[in-house]
């Protein structure tokens, strides 16, 4: 669905700016009428998408992350885009790296971020093209709730 209105942030791809994305998300999602729990879920998912750009997209020279909030009456779409080195998200996703069926000594650290995005959003799409960076599109549908923030 096409967004009626968009809000765009351009941020340095460093860990220090990811909380700025969360603050903006909170403002936009609460204005739209999302529940506290949905907003908390989206905060985690969006931060994980930004973390991926911060950690993997650029080398020492750094770069930018663009975050676009697409707002309409029924859903919020958040696009997180970088122009760095694309990485094999799809493979990570298919591994479904949760810890549920593992013993502690078998557990490997990492890979939980993408799983959380999928678990917490209604829809997650990843477009990654060699040399053109990575784009993650996260969608949450607005369900009417009594517990507004």
């Amino acid at each position: 669905m096409k967004a009626d209105q968009t809000v765009t942030l351009n941020l340095p791809a460093t860990a220090d700016y990811v909380d700025i994305v969360r603050l903006n998300l909170y403002g936009i999602a609460s204005k739209m009428g999302f529940s506290y729990e949905d907003i908390e879920d989206m905060k985690v998912a969006v931060s994980e998408a930004c973390n991926n750009s911060v950690l993997y997209a650029y080398g020492q020279e750094g770069g930018l992350v663009e975050v676009v909030f697409g707002v309409n009456g029924e859903e919020l779409t958040i696009t997180v885009k970088d122009e760095g080195v694309s990485f094999a998200l799809s493979q990570e996703a298919s591994d479904a790296p949760t810890l549920h069926n593992k013993e502690l000594h078998d557990v490997e650290i990492g890979g939980l971020g993408f799983y959380l995005m999928q678990a917490l959003m209604d829809d997650v799409r990843v477009a990654s093209e060699s040399g053109k960076g990575t784009q993650v599109v996260l969608t949450k549908r607005l369900t009417r709730s009594e517990e507004k923030v």
């Binding site: 340095p12 460093t14 860990a15 220090d16 700016y17 990811v18 909380d19 969360r22 729990e37 908390e40 905060k43 985690v44 931060s47 994980e48 973390n51 911060v54 950690l55 949760t98 810890l99 549920h100 069926n101 593992k102 502690l104 000594h105 557990v107 650290i109 990492g110 939980l112 971020g113 799983y115 959380l116 678990a119 917490l120």
Partner: protein, 112 residues
């Protein structure tokens, strides 16, 4: 950008009678992960004390933070030493359950 990290995230250690509790507050994310590791490192290596973290005032955790907790669990497990979480807020417990890390923590009373 210079961020005052103490405003954003804080870890305070209270040690007494063979037990160390680290009280976390604020947001534990990628930007403060190195600070958290630094606080925990000397505590994790001491197998003589029971180690716990109290999450009552923690507002947010991401997969980086969960990953650090997991590495502490692994290290403590290999030393046959304890590591537990106390007063886990509902939203954070949800992430612990979702990722599956919850089952590795010894049962504790949860807040809320």
């Amino acid at each position: 950008m210079t961020t005052n990290k103490n405003d954003k995230f804080n870890a305070r250690t209270v040690s007494e009678e063979g037990r160390s509790i680290v009280y976390l507050s604020g947001e534990l994310d990628l930007s403060v992960a190195p600070d958290f590791r630094l606080v925990m490192e000397p505590l994790v290596g001491d197998s003589d004390v029971d180690l716990a973290i109290n999450l009552k005032e923690l507002k947010y955790i991401d997969s980086t933070g969960i990953g650090i907790l997991l590495s502490i669990l692994k290290a403590r497990h290999s030393m046959n030493a304890s590591f537990s979480v106390e007063e886990v807020p509902t939203q954070i417990q949800k992430l612990f359950d979702m990722t599956g890390i919850a089952k590795f923590f010894e049962p504790q009373e949860n807040s809320q």
